[in-house]
Point group: C2
Chain length 141, copies 2
């Protein structure tokens, strides 16, 4: 017998275990799987529906869905011969939480980059033919 519904739900809510992050990050590390997720935000879809735009064989797409399922990002219910998939973004919330822990660092870094850019603009204004100006020109071309 499988675990009771309550256990399964609670496990999912507190599951901040490293293996869980492994599975979720791994699942998100493939463009086809992110595309599947994105299309599941529009509506529920069955496997054929999910596979059709994915320039690969049907079994390959099916495997991608299963990877998302193992990561808890997709849930499926069987309706006759059709397997209907629904997004479960709860693991993404935990990814966001994990990522938040580094907010101070990326914000500090952003400020630093911003300062560098301000300095570059000032540099370009002072001597427009200089190396800083050359870099800016190369970028906007």
């Amino acid at each position: 017998m499988t675990e009771p519904l309550g256990i399964r739900i609670l496990n999912r809510m507190v599951s901040f275990q490293p293996e869980m992050l492994d599975a979720v990050f791994h699942a998100l590390a493939h463009p086809a799987r992110r595309e599947i997720l994105r299309r599941l935000t529009e509506r529920e879809r069955n496997l054929s529906d999910l596979a059709s735009p994915l320039e690969m064989s049907f079994p390959a797409a099916s495997k991608h869905v299963r990877v998302l399922e193992r990561a808890g990002l997709v849930e499926r219910r069987v309706e006759g011969r059709s397997h209907v998939c629904r997004i479960n973004a709860e693991p993404l919330r935990q990814v966001a939480e994990w990522t938040e822990a580094y907010r101070a660092f990326w914000e500090a870094n952003f400020v630093r980059l911003d300062a560098v850019l301000e300095e570059m603009k000032a540099e370009a204004k002072r001597k427009p033919g200089g190396s800083a100006g050359e870099a800016a020109g190369g970028n906007e071309r």
Copy 2:
């Protein structure tokens, strides 16, 4: 010749390309690499420092750092024989941004789970020996 500093910085700031997400998510999908990142939040560290607590050979740890580097999450500067690594959390900001796009879905899901739990608690109070109570007991033990 390599690209000018300005170009490199600008590229990094607007680089929301899919391959970039591939690299970042892949880099985060291994506990050793997340541990490296976490320890880099405390201070800059050289490779030996990063490798020592990582129950694996030095070359293996060095490879992990390089994966983080390719994803833009770590930067290194060489000081004599020591390679000093610094965290660059900017790609994590982009991960957070990407994840935010699914906020509506995980929040909806969270509300739904919360409702289920409230229902379970009420159920447990009404008949403490029932299956719902059993599930809760199994969890808190």
